[in-house]
């Protein structure tokens, strides 16, 4: 976790930023992909570096707030003095030759957003963050906080000439208590590095997600990341014990408590969890980490209906209870796509309308296997589940997970994909997929030949968290499809009391759609909070 390795990491991310026509399509900007496999990432990394369309060109309606100052040479001089180290200031204001070096900080890795920033600051301490923000606030300089820049909604890159405050130099574990499992670390520490550190001590970070090799734990907290372990370890609102953050005016929120119980006044730190850096910059966190499970088992099974999926989930919660760590849903269409793309042998003999993947994590492999097998026997006897397999070794475990994790890549293999990451009450969760498909079918847009834009509509996701991924797989992007999807999908979610953003946050992409998931009262209260901490809009994004 030395500074050097972090810089290398940041630079390699630049390679992933390559040209894409996707960025020109506003309707796609509102529905970001959830997870990306390592192989997809590698493709980005190895492709030639190309320029991404400026966000200001994609969204000409977004105007720069003229109250903000332009960054001058005097400002740059001040920051260089303030931060000392050469590594701390990346400056194209006084040094035009550094313009290209700005790109990794101006562009998001999805290649959808690109800002005009000409100054990147990398403070090395909370005090430095405080001084930087106070100066920016006093001088009306807009800033955008940036963690690992792995966000999916355009929240971590500038739109105009905001100064990027990149947290990569604050990347140390500050302390770990191996009795209580409480970790305290800088916000810029990389999730995977922290998790590896914890693994050596028999603990686990209570969050896992595909971007773990790059994302910062401070960014995870700032975006209230959910990820793969939420079913088991719950939300960050429960596991984060303390937050250290800096408000736009430089005030340090020193709430880095390290114990699980503290009822002495308002829990202000909660506001920073999920605020996406809009009311302050998180500089450190303390978090309760559970013990790492010694045994992991995986089963994969087929079911005849979505009603049976719900029954199976109910039974799994009851019978597997404390060892259940994942309950993933995949529809037949999603598995057909993976089959077509990977040409792998499907784990079950027959096809079923639905499949589920169950993972257990526990402290005793023998007990867990026995529970899992008893569960499978029971649900098969009750004819809830039609067929199922249990992985016998790590290779089989990986192979079974492949059928779930391969969907994202397979969905895009035919040209493109419209993706929605939403939460919906379990009873109606899958109906969204059916309703969207019916509408597309009624419009005559789906078919097996090239004249139809839509290849298929597939649904999958974290059943355990009521979190659905809806993918509309297309041969080409088509306005007719887009018109059917939006605002229909958002309206549908509103009518079914769901959330238009289960995990990724609002960012720039979903900011204007917040009304589909929040009442006017709630939006008014949010504006009050923003105004409380940032009356002069010191932080813009």
């Amino acid at each position: 976790m030395a500074s050097r390795s972090r810089i290398t990491r940041a630079l390699t991310k630049a390679d992933r930023v390559s040209a894409s026509t996707l960025a020109t399509r506003p309707s796609l900007l509102s529905c970001a992909a959830r997870s990306f496999s390592t192989s997809t990432r590698r493709q980005f990394r190895s492709s030639a570096f190309c320029r991404v369309k400026f966000t200001t060109d994609s969204y000409p309606e977004i105007k720069r707030d003229s109250r903000f100052s332009q960054v001058t040479e005097d400002h740059v001089r001040h920051f260089k003095e303030l931060l000392g180290s050469d590594a701390a200031v990346l400056d194209a204001v006084t040094n035009e030759a550094a313009a290209d070096d700005m790109e990794p900080f101006n562009c998001d890795w999805m290649r959808k957003y690109r800002g005009h920033c000409r100054l990147v600051l990398k403070p090395a301490s909370t005090e430095e963050v405080s001084k930087v923000l106070k100066f920016c606030n006093d001088n009306m300089l807009a800033v955008v906080p940036q963690g690992g820049n792995t966000g999916l909604v355009g929240g971590s890159v500038p739109v105009f000439d905001e100064i990027v405050i990149n947290m990569s130099r604050m990347n140390k574990v500050r302390s770990f208590d191996d009795v209580s499992g409480v970790l305290t670390a800088d916000a810029g520490a990389v999730l995977e590095i922290v998790d590896n550190y914890l693994a050596e001590k028999g603990y686990i970070f209570p969050l896992d997600l595909a971007a773990k090799g790059s994302c910062h734990i401070g960014g995870n907290v700032a975006t209230n990341a959910g990820g793969l372990r939420l079913l088991r370890y719950g939300s960050l609102h429960g596991s984060v014990l303390g937050v250290e953050a800096v408000l736009p005016d430089g005030t340090i929120v020193d709430d880095l408590f390290k114990l699980r119980k503290n009822n002495t006044g308002y829990d202000i730190k909660q506001l920073f969890i999920g605020a996406e850096g809009t009311i302050g910059i998180i500089t450190g966190i303390s978090i309760h980490c559970p013990q790492r499970s010694k045994a992991v088992n995986v089963a994969f099974f087929g079911l005849e209906s979505y009603e049976k999926v719900q029954l199976a989930f109910r039974e799994a919660k009851g019978q597997l209870s404390e060892i259940l760590s994942a309950f993933e849903l995949m529809d037949n269409q999603s598995q057909a796509l993976v089959k077509k793309v990977t040409k792998n042998n499907f784990p079950l003999e027959n096809e079923y309308p639905f499949y589920c993947l169950i993972e257990t994590s526990g402290s005793n492999s023998e007990h867990d296997s026995a529970k899992l097998e008893a569960f499978l026997e029971d649900v098969m006897e009750k004819e809830v589940v039609s067929d199922g397999v249990v992985a016998q070794d790590e290779t089989q475990t990986k192979s079974l997970w492949g059928w779930r994790e391969g969907i994202s890549e397979a969905s895009g293999a035919f040209g493109g994909v419209y993706k929605y990451d939403v939460s919906i009450p379990l009873k109606s969760l899958y109906r969204l997929v059916e309703d969207v498909k019916a509408k597309i079918q009624a419009a005559g847009l789906i078919g097996e030949t090239d004249e139809y834009p839509v290849v298929d509509v597939v649904g999958y996701g974290h059943m355990g968290d009521s979190n659905l991924h809806l993918n509309v797989c297309v041969r080409r992007y088509d306005k007719k499809v887009e018109k059917i999807l939006e605002p229909y999908v958002f309206e549908w979610i509103k009518d079914h009391e769901g959330s238009i953003s289960a995990e990724h946050g609002l960012g720039l992409a979903k900011k204007k759609f917040i009304g589909y998931s929040r009442s006017d009262n709630m939006i008014g209260l949010m504006k009050q909070i923003k105004n409380l901490y940032d009356p002069v809009s010191g932080i813009v994004y």
Copy 2:
């Protein structure tokens, strides 16, 4: 959960409010007891109803804010029209004969605090709460929200003539999803009734505490109650999915979301969790409930040192991992007291400096027993644990728990007890007990005969949550003892980065001590929030 049964419940609570000289001792007011056994409660209930000293007499330094209006007959008439039902308004303003009926709402059940309220309102809907608060805000009438009135820090009763807004008529379960386990209920629903409702469906409320027969789930959320299940099910900040609340100006916070993932803006509801009703009144909650465990096992063991207790806890977390539901610490002194008072047979042959009680809850009794026995064998072989027993049936389970749960009552059996409920990092958790005892010994205040005020200093608590209960058991209350304890205990906790209130909140009792657990910056931020939602101090306590 009909209205009738709630009223009966409220009235019986009146019987518990009896005279006590404790209320006259300011130093005791700052350190409330944590839990009270059913038998203690029964004693209160059966004792004659006596008047408690007014808080204004105990704390003459607290002055009524003269900006607030007095409640007039016109106000009462307005509220009667607004709320309609006779059951909704308890009025001693226009009806002097009802003065005695006010006592259960004016007094806390610890008999430490007593207000001068002459009007109790019991709204039956969120809209009614909104109309009441708006009217009070517009007319400068102070109010105090009241749930089950089981708090331990004087936060749920008035000090002056504030109107009590009692939530007991809003006591319905609104919905329950037996697939996701998400419950939505009125704030005034009683915890035990809700938990029994969930038990029938195979679920459990993710919180348990001694006052469950009376406390409201809205009050639990308002005070961020921790209780017995925190080790297993985590904090309410993680499990509460939605809050419906009314701000002082009548604005309804309609954030009653029912899914686990929703990243669409600031998580405002979190502010109401633990705010103790000072920025709004919670009227409803939605909460994620886990499946109820089928198997519960309990073990009790003796250890030679606090270092070994920490080792045992570490091992229990590792080996029992997902089934560990309690890890309780008791020192030898605490057990000696219970032995002396109950005259029960101690479960172990020999005495040890420390004892721990471990509880497991899981889905498979056989597996859990095997894990627990393997764990005990392991820690005994490593000489971490010196001796241990495992309960063989429910009677033994209750008996073992009795040694932990009996401490509170036994501590007070010699005359009185100074109680502190604090959290401290595990490494230094028990040292507080040793340091306090050493100070009292050095002052010559502890001994076996009547001339010494202090009988013993005992420590116990929820090791799994770093939550220590420090009891200084006395023959009589003595200023000399008090001078040693305060502010020494609070300073000690501050120096060791603990919290002066692990669970109970600040209320009136600990409000002035907040600086021992929070920085000036954090206190300033809290005042900002209070001022944001309650600029005219519509809610005072």
